[in-house]
Amino acid sequence: MQAIVVEQITKSYGPKGAVKALDGISFSVDKGELFGIIGPDGAGKTSLLRILATLILPDAGEAYLQDLHVVRDYKRLRSLLGYMPGRFSLYQDLSVQENLSFFAAVFGTRIEDNYELIKDIYVQLEPFKNRRAGALSGGMKQKLALCCALIHKPEVLLLDEPGTGVDPVSRKEFWDMLQRLKSWGITILVSTPNMDEAELCDRVALLHNGRILAMDTPAGIRDSYDRPLFAVRSADMYRLIQDLRHWPGAYSCYAFGEYAHLALHQSLQGFDKQADTVMAELQQYLESHHHTGIEVLRAAPGVEDCFIASTKDR
């Protein structure tokens, strides 16, 4: 069964719809799936999540959550939906405990009723339960917000950029929690601007300027990368990138962590046989440009490489 179905959703803002936030988006998410919407700021992530959360109306297109239409059936939908907005949206002047029991009451339930579901997360918050939410660290705030969104045991959970403003340690913990929530059969749609978080989802859609660039499992996305890719490094990164871009075979070259990722013009088809020759040529080229500490490796493309490739092509 499909928990989320989105068909040709379009949404514009501004006078005469000058700014197109979503431009004919379609996808579907299976029940119990962890689906990632990956894209930079302004890609349309928040608009999409708000439409699904029944908070704004699409200009065109249909969307269903658990077979309920987001516009027509919004009242029924709201009780089986858990939503965590992009900004921290809890009451900063209320304590952890007070926030949680308030949201429980809003959904007509009690903390005890679904305690099993939030137990893992809540035990971490328990020591601070009388602290005001405003005084919590970024990571703790996010955990509390997740608890509040889960308190009524929603069937679909919509999370808008839960990792923003959270340190890497808490972010990792947060993703671990999402993995555990899947075992309860909750369908999770999560948006993030961090490409590396794509790997933590079952499937992802890469969103850019209101359109979906690609949609697949993270592995599927990576496999779709059709150019040979090298990781190159030398002592002078800036000059390295400049020189690599001027290399005749280069399609693109960008910094990726401690390496520069160099993509070639030619297709991946049958490249394996020539790989060693190309690498030797490259080595030679860089040496002739007086680079030191040269290292050339075949690189496996990541989701970020794919994103860059498809935005560059446009």
């Binding site: 700021d41 302004g42 403003g165 890497p168 340690v169 601007p193 990726f256 962590g257 401690e258 994103f307």
Partner: protein, 241 residues
């Protein structure tokens, strides 16, 4: 002792009972890309604001371009460029008007501003949009423009506060191209970021945890010291204490 472009000794800032920056000491050389890493609230922005003369330190020493930040914040401001993620350009002004405004602030002549506008617009390939409101530009373009505008008066030191937050991967790379280019010209850049992968692009990085610099070294050396394969892992090991 060689002349440091930026030098701090036990630099501290407290807000009431809260110590935002706790006795940080470091030195940065000319042409270096120096990264300030840390979680939100670790004190990165506060440290950067003190160094750029926007915030008076509570105690300690900070010398920027040979000027004491504590005593002559105004002189510091004249010698540096500053760009932050939150505020950089006026959205309701056009690109040309923004450049003219910032050029005017730093006392550039009309002629210089005109020349610079042309050079900058050509470089960023914004020619067709120079009379459009900044509001209408995509975020990535805005950030690149903001950096160029922050360097309009050719400062030798530039402070960048989370300049690439939320920007798409391609534009982020292009932004770093600009940073590298400036560094190659001998400009010193101090960058805060929470993308751990961007730490790799810096010559040296300082890891801030709860207001203190917990580690300061080249990315390669840090990974070696903490037996980590990525900066992300270094950070996680540091944050756990």
């Amino acid at each position: 002792m060689e002349e440091h472009v930026i030098f701090t000794d036990k630099l501290t800032k407290t807000f009431g009972p809260f110590t935002a920056v706790n006795q940080i000491s470091f030195a940065v050389e000319a042409g270096e890309i120096f990264g300030f890493l840390g979680a939100n609230g670790a004190g990165k922005t506060t440290a950067l604001r003190m160094l750029s003369g926007l915030l008076k330190p509570t105690s300690g020493i900070a010398m920027v371009a040979g000027v004491d930040v504590m005593r002559h914040p105004e002189q510091v401001k004249r010698r540096i460029g500053y760009m932050s993620q939150k505020f950089s350009l006026y959205e309701d002004l056009t690109i040309r008007e923004n450049i003219r405004f910032y050029g005017g602030i730093y006392g550039l002549s009309v002629q210089t501003i005109r020349e610079k506008t042309k050079k900058l617009v050509d470089k960023l390939e914004l020619g067709a949009h120079v009379d459009e409101l900044v509001l209408r530009l995509p975020l990535g373009w805005r950030q690149k423009l903001a950096l160029s505008v922050a360097m309009l008066h050719e400062p030798r030191i530039v402070f960048l506060d989370e300049p690439t937050s939320g920007v798409d991967p391609l534009t982020r790379r292009q932004f770093w191209d600009l940073i590298y280019e400036a560094a190659a010209d001998g400009v010193t850049l101090m960058v805060t970021t929470h993308y751990m992968e961007e730490a790799e692009y810096c010559n040296r990085v300082s890891m801030m945890v709860d207001g203190k610099i917990e580690a300061l070294d080249t990315p390669g050396q840090l990974k070696k010291t903490y037996h980590a394969t990525s900066m992300d892992e270094v950070f996680r090991k540091l944050a756990r204490g």
